[in-house]
Symmetry: C2
Subunit: 284 residues, 2 copies
C-alpha cells in the first residue's frame, strides 16, 4: 500500500497497534537495492507489519551535494516492496514532511542535533549539517510511524552510531536493529550512488573494500598500530581515487584509537569519478 | 506513587495503555504552587491517569543562573500531588535522565534545538541555550511517559510557543494543552521564583502585571502603535526594577509587530531584588 500522507500512515499503524501487532520501520531514500531488501527481509522476520519510508530528505543534503540528482525510482521501489510483502510504503512530499512553503533552515525549523563529538568527524567533517538533517528526519519518521523496531544498514556506520546515540539520549521508545553490509560479488558495497558510476568506475571503486579487507587481515596478523594499518592503503590508491578519509575508531563511540582492538571499525570515504563512496569493516 | 526510575514509569504507563486509559503529563521543576495545581486539575479532568514530572533540569540553566539555589521541595510537592489524585510523580535524578557521570554539553549529548528565530528573542536573548535545554528535556519526558496530552502554563509563554513548534516540526504524537496564568489576588503571577522575594520585593514585583494590564487597557482604548504602548511602562518603573525586555509580538509566531492587534501578546521580564520575573498578557 502506497501512502503519501502522514495522517494515513498514523491511522493504519494505530489500527494495527490496537490489534496488538508489532511494527517495523525501514527508513530509506528510495532507489532500493539488495542492501535495502536485506533490511526489509529482516524487518519482515522480526515484525508483524513493515513500513518502508521512501523519502529523499532535502535537509540532509548540503547546497553543493547531489539532492537534485539523487536517483528517484518510486515505481521500481514499489515493485520490490510488493514482492517482499511490505505493508506500507510511505512516500511523502517535502511539503508533507516540512510544511507547505516552509523555508528549510535552522531559522524556522526545530532540529535534532547529535553531539558535536559524533558529528565533527568522518563524513561529518565535509558534510556540515548532514547528521542534524538525518536525525531530524529519522525522529520525525519515528514519531509518525511509531514503530517497535527500526532497521538501519551498517553501510552508513556513522549514521547508525549517531541514531543509536539519539535514541539513547532522547529516550526514544524504539529498538534499533543494525544489519550487515550487502556487497556485490566483486566486493563493492551496495549504494544508491553506485548508479552514477561507469563500468570502469565500478572497478576503480573496488579499492575501498580492498583497502578495508587488507587492513582487517593485517590486524588479524597482529598489526595494531593505527598509523601503520592506515598506511597500507597507499598500495591500492591511484590518481583515480580521491580519498577523503580513512580512520580506525571505536565502533560504538567513534573515538580515535592509537592501537586497533576488537572493538575497532575501519571506515573509508573516497571519490571515484567524482562520486562520493563510503565503506567500512569491523576488525573483528 | 513516587517513582524515580524511567523503567518503572514506562511499565506503569504501558499497563494503563493496555487497558485503553488516556494519560496526561504535567512537566514541572517541582516547587509546586497553585499555578501547577491548575495544570494538574486540568489534566485530571481531561485524562484517566496523570503523571507529574518533578525534575530541576540542569541543562536549561546557564552557568550564572540559579540551578543550585532553585527551590527543591519534593515532600511538599508529593503532598500536593496526592491531594490532587496524581497517579505518578516522576522525580528522577540527573544521572537517571542523562546517564551516570555524563558531561552535560552539546559535545556528547543529543539536543533538540528549536528554530533560531524563536530562540534569539525575549528570554532567549539573555538565556543562551535555555530553550535547547527545555526542548531536550521535554522531548525526553514525552518519550519516557508517552502521554496523550501534556499541560503547560501560559506563564512561560515563549516556552509553550516553542514546545508547540517542536511538536509540530518533529511530528510528536502528543496534544499540547496551554493553561492560563494563575495570579495572587494582588495580580502577581505565581512563580517558584517568588520564594526568593522579600515582602517588599513582592510589592515591587506587582509592577509587571500593572504594566501589562495598562498596555491591554490602552489597546482596548484604541492605541495600537507598539512603541507608544511600550512607553506607557515608564509610568510604573522605579530604580527597584531592572527591566530586561518588554515586547509586543504575535502570540503564535513571536514575530514583532509595529501595530498591535487581537493576535498580539505583551511580554515582560524584569529583575526585582535581583530575582528574574516574567509575565505576559494577551491583548485580546
Amino acid at each position: 500500500m502506497l501512502l503519501h500522507r502522514i495522517e494515513e500512515v498514523r491511522e493504519q499503524v494505530s489500527a494495527w497497534k490496537k490489534e496488538g501487532l508489532t511494527v517495523g520501520l525501514v527508513p530509506t531514500m528510495g532507489a532500493l537495492h539488495a542492501g535495502h531488501l536485506s533490511l526489509i527481509k529482516k524487518a519482515k522476520e522480526a515484525c508483524d507489519k513493515v513500513v518502508v519510508s521512501d523519502f529523499v530528505n532535502p535537509i540532509q543534503f548540503g547546497p553543493s551535494e547531489d539532492f537534485d540528482k539523487y536517483p528517484r525510482t518510486l515505481d521500481a521501489d514499489m515493485e520490490l516492496c510488493n514482492k517482499e510483502g511490505v505493508d506500507i510504503v510511505f512516500a511523502p512530499s517535502a511539503n508533507e514532511m516540512y510544511g507547505e512553503g516552509q523555508k528549510l533552515s535552522n531559522d524556522n525549523l526545530t532540529y535534532v542535533c547529535p553531539p558535536f563529538f559524533y558529528v565533527n568527524t568522518l563524513c561529518g567533517k565535509t558534510r556540515t549539517g548532514h547528521f542534524d538533517g538525518v536525525c531530524t528526519v529519522v525522529l520525525k519518521l519515528f514519531n509518525i510511524v511509531q514503530p517497535d523496531y527500526a532497521f538501519f544498514g551498517q553501510k552508513d556506520a556513522q549514521q547508525v552510531i549517531i541514531i543509536k546515540k539519539m535514541v539513547k539520549d532522547l529516550n526514544v521508545p524504539i529498538k534499533i536493529v543494525q544489519c550487515p553490509i550487502i556487497r556485490e560479488e566483486s566486493g563493492l558495497a551496495l549504494s544508491s550512488r553506485n548508479k552514477y558510476l561507469s563500468e570502469e568506475g565500478k572497478k576503480d571503486a573496488l579499492v575501498l573494500s580492498k583497502i578495508l579487507n587488507n587492513i582487517k587481515s593485517c590486524y588479524e596478523k597482529g598489526i595494531t598500530d593505527v598509523e601503520a594499518l592506515k598506511e597500507t592503503a597507499y598500495n591500492f590508491l591511484t590518481e583515480k581515487h580521491n580519498m577523503e578519509y580513512l580512520e580506525i575508531v571505536d565502533k560504538d563511540t567513534l573515538e580515535n584509537k592509537t592501537n586497533a582492538d576488537d572493538n575497532s571499525i575501519a571506515l573509508i570515504a573516497c571519490r571515484v569519478e567524482n562520486v562520493r563512496l563510503i565503506d567500512n569493516i569491523y576488525l573483528k
